[in-house]
Symmetry: C2
């Protein structure tokens, strides 16, 4: 949950320059009041390149926040592919187009062979919504198990399984939550047993367990022998109850967690030894165009296709696929998953070192270029959301983009574009160090 | 409902050339079995321009089917806008970007002043899903009224209000259907009274009536004094029951119905004198990029924003907005809504004339470049789906793209890109005439 103070609110209006104030006034006159702007002092960007964003006045910001433009802002190869395909053709998947087939073959090659089919959609929300439709249809059950601070998207169905959006009161009555696999994982296993029993007793049965494989909104849980054992046991319980396992790779996927010899591949589920029946992917997939997907067992999708007519107008179009393909090619040609592992480890080391000098920093964790660090108060060592929010604002003034998140809104979340360099990491650490000093 | 015979099925595999067969085999090996290909003899396009699509071999097809590339395939101004913006920046709506504000101002200028706010999403399904979330939240009710063959999209929530997808058995228990406003509209009014009473008796109450303002899947119902009176009365009943009215403009909107002095503007709801609380828009909005939206009363969206955290990662990005803005500019600079009215009337006249010579054609209807015509058998005059399907296939061999649809799958649906010319209309009529002759 991102706290209100990292957003613009009207009391900050008087402090703005004329242009920003006018643009915000115009914006507020036409956009839904639900729209939020980052920062008390909002930023207007006009250009991006790699890990940098530039304002109208040419100020350069280092981007430690944006995970969507994963191969770098305005990457020239992705841009060229979009421009070229747009100038030729953009139809839909009911005509043949070789680009779609080429891409699906490449993508599926990175998954276990049982996950043999791709369905393209436009957003992570659509992917998770479809995954649940498939799971509910296949199992004949409706119960869904999520982790206790999960976020999976914004459709009606998916908001109803996302406690991080509106708390437990906002969940559908067929949803149960489990603690994430922290520590020895016993809590998750215990909760899963209870959740399954409750869903069965209520007549819902178990359709699916869905987990973000980085457990990001639940605090970034790294794989360990204990988490693997816990997740394997939970997976078995879900399967035994007739349910399916959905890995939500919308945020962790496509190499953000870093690829190494001991943790190969692009997907978080493999690190946890999960063996999902369905996998959802999205955000970084086309470096910013709306492209997402569902990778699933063929038998599940065959049964779904026989039962349900599903066509997604804007999904899998030649332009969407060209963008996804170029993003895929850059990711591999520039070895960004491997780079994410190396620079992510450097960055983590720098944060660990910084934490030895600032007792407000604690518990650096995560993998690759998807890291979290808690901000705590110096006396009690408790999560300190106001200070986290102040740091985010202070870093914005230092031209660093980052966010506060986590259940207590007291963690800094780091998820920069993957070309993030050692120099970028040093710049970030220098500014964070200074911002921490300024707190006094 | 599009009948199976307009899709490729395995028994047609032997008739294909090697390249097509190989590409289909590869495609079927990786895509979900739910994917469908048009035609027993599928088409592979590699280029498009205006109202034409071109195969790898350079065969030119006339497009009478595709409503998404509304200002013409690969329109150079839209292409250039996408290329330019992609090369600069593509972030999200939590930073300021003037393009979003400019576009929202332009777009809202085409709506009644009460519909004062825009929320951008990525697909028509997301737009309708969000509209229902807003309506359910605002009213505290969950009952939804739709027309009896309605189609509104594919999320879990929206599939459950779309009888055209899976029939009445597929609808949620809080959905009731009404007949569309045909004839004197009495049937719709009667059904609406019953639906409201039932929803209230069941404890659901009335959250919303949602209608496609072209009533396309219900057979294209043109506005008339009787339909206006019926819709006004139904709207009043819904409002009296505490419900809201949602106009689904995803297909009819942005000028497809043709703009004239007596039917000005871009939206279908105005023709029916509907006064919706929420309007959803999509398909042609960005000529093929995934852009859709919800235009709504400010009070509704303020209440929603206070209650619900809603952020759509890929919606309203600089590239999406640049594509939508260029599409908007072309639509107006090329006067395509006015053109659609003129050429649509010509095309309708030609179809009427053709119907005097072919007794299989009946009941030409619709508006602008969104027309339907029934295919009936010559003896009983009953809807004849097999013949409609044969015509679609015959026209494909004559390099004309069109579909069969309607509840009986016995209507030809015409919805070409809006630059469709008089010459295009003549070419279509010539080929349809010949195909009808060939039927014997």
């Amino acid at each position: 949950m991102i706290g209100p103070a990292t957003y613009f609110t009207p009391e900050h209006r008087a402090n703005l320059d004329d242009r920003t104030r006018t643009l915000i006034d115009r914006r507020e006159a036409v956009l839904s009041p639900g729209y939020r702007l980052f920062y008390a002092h909002p930023v207007e960007f006009v250009r991006g390149s790699g890990t940098k964003l530039y304002t109208r006045d040419g100020e350069e910001f280092l981007d430690v926040y944006n995970n969507v433009p994963s191969v770098g802002h305005a990457h020239p190869r992705v841009t060229a592919a979009i421009a070229e395909q747009s100038s030729q053709l953009n139809t839909h998947t009911r005509y043949l187009h070789e680009g779609l087939v080429d891409y699906a073959e490449l993508l599926l090659g990175s998954f276990p062979s049982a996950l043999a089919t791709l369905t393209l959609v436009c957003t992570g929300s659509e992917a998770n919504d479809l995954a649940l439709r498939v799971a509910k249809g296949a199992t004949g059950n409706r119960g869904v198990i999520v982790t206790e601070n999960a976020y999976h998207g914004v459709t009606t169905e998916i908001a109803a399984i996302s406690p991080s959006l509106g708390g437990h009161d906002s969940l559908a009555d067929w949803v149960r939550t489990v603690r994430p696999p922290v520590g020895d994982g016993a809590a998750m296993l215990q909760d899963a047993r209870a959740a399954i029993a409750e869903l069965q007793a209520a007549g819902h049965g178990v359709a699916a367990l869905i987990v973000d494989t980085a457990f990001a909104s639940d605090g970034f849980i790294a794989p360990s022998p204990a988490t693997r054992a816990a997740l394997a046991a939970v997976q078995q319980l879900v399967h035994d109850a007739g349910g399916l396992v959905i890995a939500d790779e919308v945020q962790p996927g496509f190499g953000r967690l870093g690829t190494t010899a001991s943790a190969p591949g692009l997907w978080g589920f493999a690190r946890h030894d999960l063996d999902p029946d369905l996998v959802t992917i999205g955000k970084p997939m086309a470096n910013g165009l709306p492209v997402a997907g569902l990778v699933a067992r063929r038998d599940l999708m065959r049964a779904f296709g026989e039962r349900v007519r599903y066509f997604n107008t804007f999904a899998g179009t030649p332009v969407s696929v060209a963008a996804a393909r170029a993003t895929w090619d850059v990711l591999h040609d520039e070895r960004l998953p491997e780079h994410a592992a190396v620079v992510g480890a450097e960055l983590r080391g720098m944060l660990d070192e910084l934490a030895t000098r600032h007792d407000r920093l604690r518990d650096v964790r995560g993998s690759g270029l998807y890291l979290g660090v808690d901000i705590v108060d110096r006396t009690a060592g408790e999560p300190d959301s106001p200070t986290a929010v102040r740091l985010v604002s202070a870093l914005r003034e230092r031209r660093i983009l980052i966010s506060a998140s986590g259940r207590d809104n007291a963690s800094l979340k780091l998820r920069p574009p993957l070309p993030f360099s050692s120099a970028d990491a040093e710049r970030f650490i220098t500014e964070l160090d200074a911002a921490l000093h300024d707190l006094g």
